[in-house]
Symmetry: C2
Subunit: 231 residues, 2 copies
């Protein structure tokens, strides 16, 4: 443990040496009342694996994370958050001096319009929850004045490529990592498969452990990042 | 580990010797779509502590549990479920030959009226979720022909005693364990405080570790269970 921490604190020579990388991971939670919330099945495994791979590649890594059950990898600064609004605030603070932002969190799309102050009593047979859009963390950073190199994820149940390319353009991303969810894929699994898209390019990363995939992803990100100025 | 399992498999002399106790623990999750769900902040710690205490007291214990991050205590049969409907089905099967049912789970009160088959696209700024009542596991067992000794929990943000007594009567319980939530109490904490109510009696269990509280609770349940026929 101590040896691991000393090792992790040493500067590493790698494809991301000297760069600050901000990564989001896990789900967010939106309160319905003090007891209930809306969330999603993201385990955080992919984001944590990417954080570890980026650290191994020499980057200074800040991991902005929703509630998950994964220990913080050594040598990584962990910023815990719960809601989409909290995640956005933490990311905005961290990306100001970052070179790369990788948005692997499954941020809630909607939040409750009004958070009840007391536990809702179940007096009626039916109930409607009024929801409004939660902030889109990645799109907000994409609209900022001088965004870092932006990498998004797209977990889709259908039309993976079309939805991924729409996201790449509409959110002003440099790269998007897309995967199909459902049928036992992706969420809360240790294996995953990704297709990476950028303007004018595409690369398949076939089914592999999330840590192997994360290392491959980091290597493609470093390559695209270094060639960004040249295109 | 092995010694622990052998020990746990041995018959134990205790206040619940020879009795089958069914316990629910943790939250339930109700799907909004294949990715999103509604849940609550129950950690399952109290239910798991009660299961362990009941086993220590000599009972045969079946633990019907929602998704939590706690290892199964030795010598306990664990039945994992996700939704309120699944929890009800598992409990109905288990209570048929049970002597005591302790409902420590935080079962969702509402479920989505219609589960979307594809991930909902966030096309509009606002959205309403139509919810209908999920089954009330404890009340359903309370209405059955010859229910076991029934113990409920009431986590309340206000009017703890009044709400607990209403629940005791309306759900046909033999005992209810009430606590106040909010202000750092109860959910996801290791400490808790409970007030036990039954028809004609009441007992305070002051702030303590959940495992100590669970042992006290089991001892009061055993006492009330044994004197049930005599009142």
């Amino acid at each position: 443990q101590i040896a691991e921490e000393i090792y992790a604190a040493l500067p590493v020579e790698g494809v991301l040496s000297g760069l600050k990388v901000v990564i989001t991971a896990g789900p967010t939670r939106e309160a319905i009342d003090p007891v209930r919330f809306i969330s999603n099945r993201s385990s955080g495994k992919m984001g944590y694996a990417v954080a570890e791979a980026a650290r191994e590649a020499g980057a200074t890594v800040v991991l902005v994370t929703g509630p998950v059950q994964i220990p913080t990898p050594a040598g990584i600064e962990r910023v815990p958050v719960e809601t989409a609004d909290q995640m956005l605030a933490a990311v905005q603070k961290q990306v100001a001096d970052a070179d790369i932002f990788i948005a692997a969190a499954a941020v809630s799309d909607y939040k409750c319009s009004e958070v009840a102050c007391q536990k809702i009593k179940k007096t009626s047979d039916n109930m409607t929850l009024a929801l409004s859009r939660a902030p889109d963390v990645l799109a907000t950073i994409g609209r900022s004045e001088s965004p870092p190199f932006l990498v998004g994820f797209a977990a889709e149940t259908e039309n993976v490529e079309a939805n991924a390319l729409t996201k790449l353009n509409s959110k002003n991303l440099d790269m998007i990592a897309a995967n199909k969810v459902g049928e036992g894929l992706a969420f809360d699994k240790d294996d995953n498969a990704l297709t990476l898209y950028w303007r004018g390019g595409k690369q398949e990363l076939t089914l592999n452990s999330k840590s192997a995939l994360a290392r491959q992803l980091v290597s493609v990100i470093a390559e695209r990042y270094r060639s960004r100025g040249k295109s």
